[in-house]
């Protein structure tokens, strides 16, 4: 077996040192009834590297990849071009095969990277601080709701109708067990976000309002009035960003006085990967830092006075506080955070703003072209790189038909909101720098043909 260095003579010599006759003697504490006398039955035996590669490649071939098709899916996961150097660097063995930096003297690489990541994320989200990452956007969103409960000591959260339905679903699942009260509703196919509804609902029991920006239909709105309304009732504003590239073009939630900003960082460095692993972003105002979940990296000095970095404020965390911890999170998403950080470093301010501009320009052009198709209506007044069309028929079968023609047309709201008739005609279309004008034309003519 190519991954196991011990030889049979090694094993025998080691058993002699241990004072055991056979390997079975080391498993004496397993009750006899539970000991297997050979390999687990009905499973194949070991295989060569080449055989495994063939097996996996055959499975991979059964998928239609984003790169093979005109591609317009978004809704929480976006196709962006990732520079080649990102994937090269994250495969450096010292990053790939390291662990949580428990021994800072020999983990300064990971720690400095995390400090840089925290700073990049905080600046992007417009918050004072950010942590060293969460699992993904959806779990970061729920952790933010729990954090707001801890801070305000109130148990009611009001969720915007424009929050990603999977994020709502995760929060609903968790709230069933924690007793948090969530006020949720489905979105409507109208140009405006539901800020008025949210503001009207805030009361003295409200811990927080959760709003996505841009929202699930791609709409954007000034969050300042909402932040003011929250703060007037001593509630927190939580903003959720599922497309961080947008913040290169629009004002960040933190700049509009959101208290906690969480996000999905997949767009930068990580790739689609059929939904995971992704990287949760988590930032907040300085005054709430001790209520934050997750790992934090901080600057300090070593015994010789040189600058260095360590994991810090760990008295919030499970390995110290156990049942009194701010969260049960342990492992986060370190390598994806590294990919995010490298991509962001390559872009820099100038590159991110250009990238955002290209995305927006492409989306504006695509929205104009697609809304010219008879019967197709553009819902949004405002959007960044993703917008919602209302088709004259249910969108889900249309998406399937287009997939048969090799076009991945977008996300039908029927997929995200099954059984909701008034949303069934909605199609959310995302356009990034990877989308060409020809892609848009291919989609437009095919869609026109199907709807005719």
């Amino acid at each position: 077996m190519r991954y196991l260095p011990l030889t049979q003579p090694d094993r025998e010599a080691m058993l002699a040192v241990i004072g055991a006759a056979t390997i079975d003697d080391l498993f004496v504490d397993v009750p006899e009834a539970a000991r297997l006398d050979g390999p687990v039955r009905d499973l194949p035996m070991h295989a060569s590297e080449m055989a495994v590669e063939r097996h996996m490649a055959a499975l991979a071939k059964k998928n239609l990849t984003a790169g093979e098709a005109p591609f317009f899916l978004g809704c929480g996961a976006y196709k962006h071009h990732v520079p080649a150097s990102v994937d090269h660097l994250i495969q450096r063995g010292e990053f790939l095969t390291a662990y949580t930096p428990y021994q800072p003297e020999i983990a300064q690489g990971t720690l400095q990277m995390l400090f840089e990541f925290q700073t990049q994320v905080a600046r992007l989200l417009g918050t004072d601080v950010a942590n060293a990452s969460m699992y993904d956007g959806s779990t970061a969103c729920w952790e933010a709701i729990v954090m707001a409960r801890r801070i305000t000591k109130r148990g009611k959260a009001i969720l915007s109708a424009g929050l990603h339905p999977h994020y709502v679903s995760v929060s609903n699942t968790m709230a069933k067990f924690t007793g948090d009260v969530l006020d949720t509703t489905d979105p409507r196919l109208v140009p405006e976000m539901d800020l008025d509804r949210l503001i009207a609902k805030i009361d003295d029991d409200t811990s927080c309002v959760v709003v996505q920006y841009p929202d699930i239909l791609g709409r954007i709105a000034d969050l300042r009035p909402l932040a003011d309304a929250c703060h007037a009732k001593k509630a927190l504003l939580i903003a959720v960003v599922t497309e961080p590239v947008a913040l290169g073009a629009i004002t960040s939630p933190g700049e509009m006085d959101a208290d906690i900003v969480v996000g999905e960082g997949q767009s930068l460095g990580v790739g689609l990967q059929f939904g995971g692993p992704y990287v949760g972003l988590f930032g907040c105002k300085d005054k709430y830092v001790r209520q934050m979940p997750g790992r934090l990296c901080g600057e300090t000095v070593d015994a010789d006075g040189r600058r260095g970095f360590v994991l810090t404020l760990s008295t919030r965390e499970q390995h110290i506080r156990r049942e009194k911890a701010t969260s049960n999170i342990c492992t986060n998403s370190g390598l994806c955070a590294l990919a995010f950080s490298i991509h962001m470093t390559l872009l820099g301010e100038a590159g991110l703003r250009q990238l955002a501009e290209v995305n927006h320009a492409g989306a504006v052009a695509a929205a104009e072209r697609l809304s010219q198709i008879p019967g197709v209506e553009l819902i949004n007044d405002s959007f960044f790189n993703e917008f919602t069309l209302k088709l004259p028929v249910e969108a889900r079968p249309v998406v399937r038909t287009l997939a048969d023609r090799g076009i991945l047309a977008g996300v039908s709201l029927g997929r995200l909101y099954p059984g909701k008739d008034d949303l069934a005609n909605g199609l959310v279309v995302a356009v990034t720098e990877t989308t060409t004008a020809e892609d848009v034309e291919t989609l437009a003519s095919a869609l026109q043909e199907i709807l005719a």
Partner: protein, 526 residues
């Protein structure tokens, strides 16, 4: 006249070093210092080119929200970026560099075939919301891996979506709670957790709304079965037991404990962080457990990546299967389908709901399946045997030098546990650990489990050669002898690492969590 007028001649080292001045750069040959991106980058530089000058949108749809203020993000060109991160990487210790016996974390070799397979575009460049008939191969990967996990553990079903071990724990405990509530037993509010458990266990139980009570350990390092049984009753929802446990011992009474918990109306959660010690030799399902998470980044060798991403699928017994979270991959009429909220139907009507957006850590599934197929049923059995053999070899090679509190309890499983008993006055586990750094090793886990004073938890894994183990044993013996003799140089170790001991107290007292510019970055390019 000689042709060579340059003065060159083959070098021979001079004897005696004399006084060596510090370098002006702070570098030491291959040990290179690296500044922060905020110190070396600026807001104008970018390492990404766009094909043409970006076209501005004909009509902006951003309204009044169009960004006006700079963000403050520094950029680097590609060569500077590659150098920055390459230099940072060299300040890290990883498995690729050497022995990394971090107990309970299972730092085994990460086969590169796994990386290659995960990067096949058919897996890496697929969107989670594509129509399911365009992602049949991705769903088949999940289905195949699920089959392996269920078969290896002898359980009924598996939830694939949890994002890491602690997230898997939460999944298991929520399923327990859903099952109890469905039976009208929602009043059970206590979860029993041994003192030796990972911190995530009590944190998870608390997060899921339970009160946590400790179960004591016996003198031999196992759960006190009698005490546990005595505590069972109508208020107890279940137990969370790690097996093999964090002392590196197999919980011999597991079956008896499971039966007692079930008889008392509760459920058994098993923390499967240490499944790598028994994979292929023991099926946890035969021990009566109801739920167990499997850290794919431990047992099945997906890379730890400096702290994630992990992946924590949870296997369930028949009793808990109806409550498992969505989504599921199922095979129906030859097609793989994704069972989500709308299609859950009667078969999954009791599901406690969704834990994450999308379907879990696909990139980890492809790696884990590649690892599993490479090993096969026979190779996985050899994995646990070699892991256990290596740990016992370390335990018995060092128990004359270091105190092994549970050494007399019999063989250990995949990790060897020592304490700081016998070290000189004022010396502790941390000094041994830092001494090991100077010897070129990543230290073992320190001060965990909590039930042993100054715990040193050494987990060698199966991917170490005997020569590597022998070198480590010699090094740890030497460092331990120095700590027993009170060698003051250990108190200031490490001496040869990129940094000396860091001031963690300062970091916590005055947290500096983000870079603050001494002067503002230049205004962003407009």
């Amino acid at each position: 006249m000689s042709i060579n007028q340059s003065g060159w001649r083959p070098t021979a080292p001079e004897q005696g070093k004399g006084n060596v001045p510090a370098s002006v750069t702070g570098n030491k040959a291959l040990m290179l210092e690296e500044a922060l991106i905020f110190e070396i980058g600026d807001s104008h530089t970018t390492g990404v080119d766009f094909a043409t000058a970006p076209a501005r949108a004909a009509t902006s749809k951003l309204g009044a929200l169009a960004r006006k203020a700079p963000i403050g993000l520094p950029g680097l060109s590609e060569p500077e970026t590659v150098r920055h991160y390459t230099r940072l990487s060299r300040q890290n210790y990883g498995i690729d560099l050497g022995f990394f016996p971090l107990g309970s974390c299972t730092m085994k070799h990460n086969p590169r075939l796994n990386e290659k397979m995960a990067r096949l575009p058919g897996f890496s460049d697929v969107h989670p919301l594509q129509p399911v008939d365009t992602v049949q191969g991705a769903l088949e990967v999940i289905h195949q891996l699920a089959h392996w996990l269920v078969t290896l553990t002898g359980m009924t079903s598996v939830a694939m979506s949890p994002k890491a071990g602690a997230h898997g724990e939460l999944c298991g405990v929520l399923a327990i709670r859903a099952a109890l509530e469905a039976k009208g037993e929602g009043h059970r509010k206590i979860i029993l957790v041994p003192e030796s458990a990972h911190g995530t266990n009590p944190a998870t139980a608390a997060f899921a709304g339970y009160s946590v009570e400790d179960i004591p350990a016996t003198a031999e390092g196992r759960v006190d079965t009698a005490a546990l049984k005595a505590r069972l009753g109508p208020d107890v929802a279940g137990v969370m037991i790690t097996n093999p446990n964090t002392c590196g011992l197999f919980e011999r009474d597991m079956r008896e404990i499971s039966d007692a918990v079930h008889a008392a109306g509760g459920f058994v959660y098993c923390d499967g962080a240490n499944f790598n010690a028994i994979v292929g030799r023991v099926r946890p399902g035969d021990l009566g457990i109801d739920a167990m998470h499997i850290n794919l980044h431990k047992t099945f060798s997906t890379p730890h990546g400096g702290g994630g991403p992990g992946s924590g699928p949870v296997v369930f017994s028949a009793a808990l299967t109806p409550y498992a979270p969505l989504p599921f991959v199922e095979k129906q009429d030859g097609q793989f389908v994704l069972v989500e909220e709308e299609t859950a139907g009667e078969h999954h009507a009791g599901s406690f709901g969704r834990m994450v957006a999308f379907h879990g850590q696909m990139g980890m599934f492809t790696r884990a399946l590649t690892y599993i197929l490479s090993h096969g049923a026979d190779g996985l059995r050899q994995v646990s045997e070699d892991a256990v053999l290596n740990a016992n070899y370390i335990l018995r090679s060092l128990d004359d030098t270091l105190d092994a509190p549970f050494g007399p309890s019999g063989p250990c499983m995949h990790e060897a546990l020592f304490s700081d008993s016998g070290l000189a006055e004022g010396f502790s586990t941390i000094d041994v650990a830092k001494g090991l750094i100077d010897e070129g090793f990543h230290p073992m886990t320190m001060y965990f489990p909590l039930v042993v004073h100054g715990a040193m938890l050494v987990e060698p894994t199966e991917t170490e050669s005997k020569a590597a183990l022998d070198q480590f044993i010699a090094a740890l013996r030497s460092v331990a002898e120095r700590a027993k003799a009170g060698d003051p140089s250990l108190k200031t170790a490490p001496h040869f690492a990129p940094r000396a001991r860091l001031d963690e107290t300062l970091a916590a007292r005055k947290p500096v969590l983000v870079w603050k510019d001494p002067a503002p970055l230049a205004q962003a390019a407009e």
